[in-house]
Amino acid sequence: MSGAVTFDEVTVAWKKTVALDRVSLAAPAGAFTALVGPNGSGKSTLLKTLYGVARPRSGTVSLDGTPLHKLSTTERARRIGVLAQDSPALSGYTAWEMIALGRTARLGPFARLSPRDHQAINQAIETAGCRPYVGRPLGTLSGGQRQRVLFARALAGEPDILLLDEPTNHLDPRHQLDLLDYAARCGKTVIAALHTLDLAAAYADHIHVLEAGRLAATGPPATTLTPQILRQVFTVDATVINDPATGRTRLLIGTHSAVQRPGNP
């Protein structure tokens, strides 16, 4: 299986602001790896170094042992599909046209879509559940529908690595669960930055906890999303429960310091 990602002592800085400070971590091939951490802890930057927007000042990012900077931009885009946080310009594209752009790195010089490309696009549309509004311009869609279009665009390129930056943004609960369920079962290497810690606990195989550009904890949910670590990194109180139905860790956040109301001891 291919798609293993490793960070070896990677530092990323914008001028004098250090976004990632000598971070070493691994995202195993075919597994769902979640990045959690407070705002500004370096989750998005870590993803951006993988799709070429941020460049490490030092250290090496590798894909199956090959340093990322040795791959061409096209080769990189073929292997890595991205659902980024930036909302694309309301350019007048229809949802279908936007999803089809996900095939870019696999097209020839004239960018004509083959039947094989159409097949991949259709598959992505079905997986992301965009079929009902695929002919509409993006500007007429809701935030959640647009998010699913961008998810479909990331899938359309048939990458073996999926980078998801806050993928559940704007999504209703049904579609949040569907998206994470797909990410956990699709067999691709998935690296997702998540704010919903409980969903990270419920779906991810591995968790990397980032704090101010450094790795604070790494491992399976049961050892990384502990009350002590959550208190230290997020300054929140949390109760950890073991879901008897799935055997997985679940979290109740903020339970100790929640406002006590009269009659609700």
Binding site: K48, Y51, G52, V53, T73, T74, R76, A77, R78, I80, G81, V82, A84, D86, P88, A89, L90, S91, G92, Y93, T94, A95, W96, E97, L101, G102, T104, A105, L107, P109, F110, A111, L113, P115, H118, Q119, N122, I125, E126, T127, A128, G129, R131, P132, Y133, V134, G135, R136, P137, G139, T140, R148, F151, A154, G157, R174, H175, D178, L179, Y182
Partner: protein, 367 residues
């Protein structure tokens, strides 16, 4: 993610799926195949050209015009003075009008994509101010005939190209050209160059000021075969390159993060497209002066009619730009004949009603 969705059971359309039969929110002719659109556009352009050539001090019926063009194309002997009027006097001007209209529309499509703003046009990047300064410098110092009939076009082209290089050097960063610095530098450079132009105008003679004013508002009265051939070739070649790169323009319009994610180097690509926009703008303003409106409106009009895909907007926008500028120029040389009206005034008179009508009927197609 289809589980539980109320629309999950809807049948999927067969490839190529432009979407199910949902209501169309934008792009009146979005579903019309590009070859059909282009064939129709070329037909309208050809008919417009024949009709426009027939209009003038000596009216020539369309049949005669077509005959004269046919004889010129096949090398058959010419039939009297009408052939001379058609081929030597009016045809170069019509070709220049079509070239300038198509070129400005193409340049506008590029600029709107690379700065991600639908109200940008080639002039936002300072290119026309540079061309104006080049032309005005020559008019007020050396004189219009300094280097023969190509003096003014050459000066204007040099001004546009020089400004393009200057803006590029000032706006570039380590990763190439970013949209924000590009548009800010372009606007600033344009203001500075306009200031210099005004200064030269104030210092120059009244005659020179008259020449300059006419040039600034745009005119094709200096049309000649040599110029038509040069600008036509330059514009045609640039548009062909642009058309082949249309897919990349689509991606650049999404923003730099998306472009990088899809396998492009946005800073580098933007620099290449900027060079192409400078070439197209330089070729257009050097023959016709600073004609406004076409570069701003034609790409938007094209998007409203054929959808947002640059591979459709580029050729279709160029065609409607060519048709509208052709009719604007025909009006420019006839409404107050024998004097000429600056064409920039007429592009607005002809284009604005069409544009407003499109905005009112196709609001969903606007970005």
């Amino acid at each position: 993610m289809t589980a539980g969705h109320p629309d999950a059971g809807r049948p999927a359309p067969v490839a190529p799926p432009r979407g199910p039969a949902a209501p169309l929110h934008g792009g009146l002719w979005r579903r019309v195949p590009l070859p059909v659109l282009l064939a129709a556009g070329l037909l309208v352009l050809a008919v417009s050209a024949v009709l426009a050539i027939g209009v003038g001090a000596v009216a020539i019926p369309p049949g005669e015009v077509a005959g004269a063009l046919w004889r010129a194309a096949t090398g058959a002997p010419q039939h009297g003075p009408d052939d001379f009027i058609v081929v030597q006097l009016r045809l170069p001007r019509v070709i220049e009008a079509m070239t300038v209209g198509a070129g400005l529309a193409g340049a506008g499509t590029i600029v709107q994509a690379i700065v991600r703003n639908p109200i940008a046009d080639p002039y936002v990047l300072g290119l026309s101010s540079g061309a104006s300064l080049g032309a005005v410098t020559v008019i007020t110092t050396l004189g219009i005939g300094f280097a023969g009939s190509l003096t003014l076009p050459l000066a204007a082209f040099a001004g546009a190209a020089g400004t393009g290089i200057l803006v590029f050097l000032l706006a570039r960063t380590r990763a190439g050209l970013a949209a924000g610095p590009l548009v800010m530098t372009g606007v600033a450079a344009g203001s500075l160059l306009s200031g210099v132009t005004s200064f030269l105008l104030l210092r120059g003679s009244a005659d020179a000021a008259q020449d300059v004013m006419f040039w600034l508002l745009g005119s094709l009265s200096g049309a000649q075969w040599r110029l038509a051939a040069i600008s036509g070739t330059l514009t045609g070649a640039s548009l062909a390159v642009l058309l082949l790169r249309g897919h990349r323009l689509n991606i650049l319009a999404l923003g730099d993060e998306s472009a990088a994610a899809l396998g492009m180097r946005p800073g580098l690509a933007r620099a290449g497209f900027f060079a192409l926009a400078a070439l197209l703008t330089g070729a257009a303003v050097s023959v016709a002066g600073a004609i406004g409106f076409i570069g701003l409106v034609m790409p938007n009009l094209a998007r409203m009619l054929v959808g947002a895909d640059s591979r459709r907007v580029i050729p279709f926008g160029a065609l409607i730009g060519a048709v509208i500028l052709l009719w604007a120029d025909t009006a420019a040389r006839t409404v107050l004949a024998p004097s000429e009206v600056p064409i920039g005034i007429l592009t607005a008179f002809i284009g604005v009603p069409i544009f407003i009508a499109a905005v009112r009927t196709q609001p969903g197609a606007l970005p």
